[in-house]
């Protein structure tokens, strides 16, 4: 069953077609990867899907509902959350508080109750705290959660962001280069986490440059180049297509590759 349906999306930045006629659909429960060389429009596509940018053409459907141009916070409440390539960390908050913000959409948001800390607020805080701890260990981040988030390593922050997004209990999770800056051991651990997320029924859309990770984990792969769809298919087969190789390596590189 199709969860996310993207139809002929287009967006321009000052005359440059950043995305043009991109159409794709993501099935419920799968790991769907978007790859492509630098500047292909992968992150732009994420920004369009998650409501950060409003597309100029085309439409997006989430579970059959039109979500084109809907603001990020509404999308989050509808069950779509994401991580960022360039991290959006709450640096002055503790690791635990960072993840607790992820519980926001499930919390009672009555500000009057908050001003006077009614017992319900305390109970609520306790539940959010426990769940935040749960999501931190879910992504394998076993550190003192009271530490300031600013003191974490890059790889730890990446995982904290995933825990934070998971805390919203999304139906669909967009991960923008989660393995960037991770060492091989961390990448393997991350691979296991993403698999676990998908096995728990959360649809994952992934942007990633680590091809080993992509091939290992993806149910389907969508290749973008210069804002357009280049190819789509399963696993290693997509990567070996000549047009995909050319996009990454150029004409000359592809000839060399094929000869080797």
């Amino acid at each position: 069953m199709t969860l996310l349906n993207i139809k002929e999306i287009g967006i321009d930045f000052g005359g440059i077609r950043a995305l043009d006629q991109v159409t794709l659909s993501v099935e419920k429960g799968e790991v769907f990867s978007i790859i492509g060389p630098n500047g292909a429009g992968k992150t732009t596509l994420f920004n369009v899907i998650s409501g950060v940018y409003r597309p100029h053409r085309g439409s997006i459907l989430l579970d059959g509902t039109e979500i084109t141009g809907v603001t990020p916070w509404r999308l989050a409440r509808a069950g779509l959350s994401r991580s960022f390539q360039n991290l959006q960390i709450f640096g002055r908050m503790s690791v635990l508080d960072n993840v607790m913000v992820g519980r926001h959409r499930h919390e009672n948001r009555n500000m009057l109750a908050h001003l006077f800390t009614l017992p319900s607020v305390l109970a609520q805080n306790r539940i959010s705290r426990e769940l935040a701890q749960h999501y931190l260990s879910y992504v394998g981040l076993d550190i003192d959660a009271r530490r300031s988030a600013a003191g974490l390593s890059y790889g730890e922050l990446k995982r904290m962001e995933i825990a934070r997004a998971l805390a919203t209990e999304p139906r669909i999770l967009l991960l923008d280069e989660p393995a960037a800056g991770c060492n091989p051991t961390e990448t393997d651990a991350l691979c296991a986490v993403i698999r676990k997320i998908a096995d728990d029924g959360i649809t994952v859309v992934l942007i990633e440059h680590d091809m080993k990770l992509v091939v290992q984990i993806s149910d389907r792969i969508h290749v973008l180049n210069q804002g357009r769809t280049l190819a789509q298919g399963k696993g290693a087969e997509v990567m070996s297509r000549p047009e995909v190789m050319t996009a990454y390596l150029g004409e000359h590189g592809t000839r060399e590759m094929l000869r080797a």
Binding site: S50, V52, T71, P72, W73, L75, A76, R77, S81, R82, F84, Q88, I89, F90, G91, R92, M93, D97, N98, M100, V101, G102, R103, H104, R105, E107, N108, R109, M111, A113, H114, L115, F116, T117, V121, Q124, N125, S128, R164, A165, A167, T168
Partner: protein
Amino acid sequence: MNALSRLEPRFRILLGLAILMAALPLVIDNAFYLRIAALVYIFALATLGLNLLMGFAGLVSLGHAGFVGIGAYTMAVGPTHLGWSSWTALVAGPALAGALAWLVGRPILKLRGHYFAVATLGLGLLISMVLNNETAWTGGPDGMTVPRLSAFGWTLRGATPWYWTSAGVLLIGAWVATNLIGSPTGRALRAIHDSDTGAGVLGVNVAQYKLAVFVLSAVFAAIAGAMLALFHGHITPESAGFMRSVEFATMAVLGGLGSILGSVVGTAILVILPQALVVFHEYEHVLLGLLMMVFMIFLRAGIVPSIMTRLGRSEL
């Protein structure tokens, strides 16, 4: 001791503040000093409200004295011209300030950038201009008399009753602020301060929270204004002027953004220091500026957070 260590750090600070307030009259049993302390508490309430806005949502208001003015002048205009009781005015002022903040904030807070600071600057100037020029209602630059607050035949006046009243109100304000910070709203606000994009994708309605904290800070300011009017028994447009707005922002930054105790400390320094420096006559302002520069160079995060960090503690 066990009960104390179980208390969250932020509530420990609240307790410390309460003890300090209770102990102070034992040391300074002098009407003049008690009045200054009461003034510090009243101003600190406005600073605290502004600090919620600046330190937690990351928004700078340059017109906060305008809301103080609304609270103050409602205490004067309501009973004098509209026949309200002082108690009605005491509720109406903060409500009016909150409503105005909501009206002004709604369109601006959807935008990012410096629009907000500029818009509040304009609002503050506008309020101060109205207070100066609507002479028939406000008495113009000479100001107007504020009837005292009384209940059951007892009138609130004198240094000692004012000391306890202002201390009590500030303590309630600090308690409310402390509660807010530890709640889902507080987490959302702090998240917005660090990254509104990050907060947005987690389901935080950024514009709505900015508006809510702006309204709250306006209400805090107006309550402080109402108390200020009652305390002095007379009010002038100066209390709503631009310089006063800058002072509030300075108090918050000096004491420490995002610090409840810092709001009180910053206010205390800016209220007490000019009084203490009077002996230097014309060098008073030079010294005041110099001292503040020294503070900001060596305690960059503000007095209270800098000291906390040095002690290896966190206020939150």
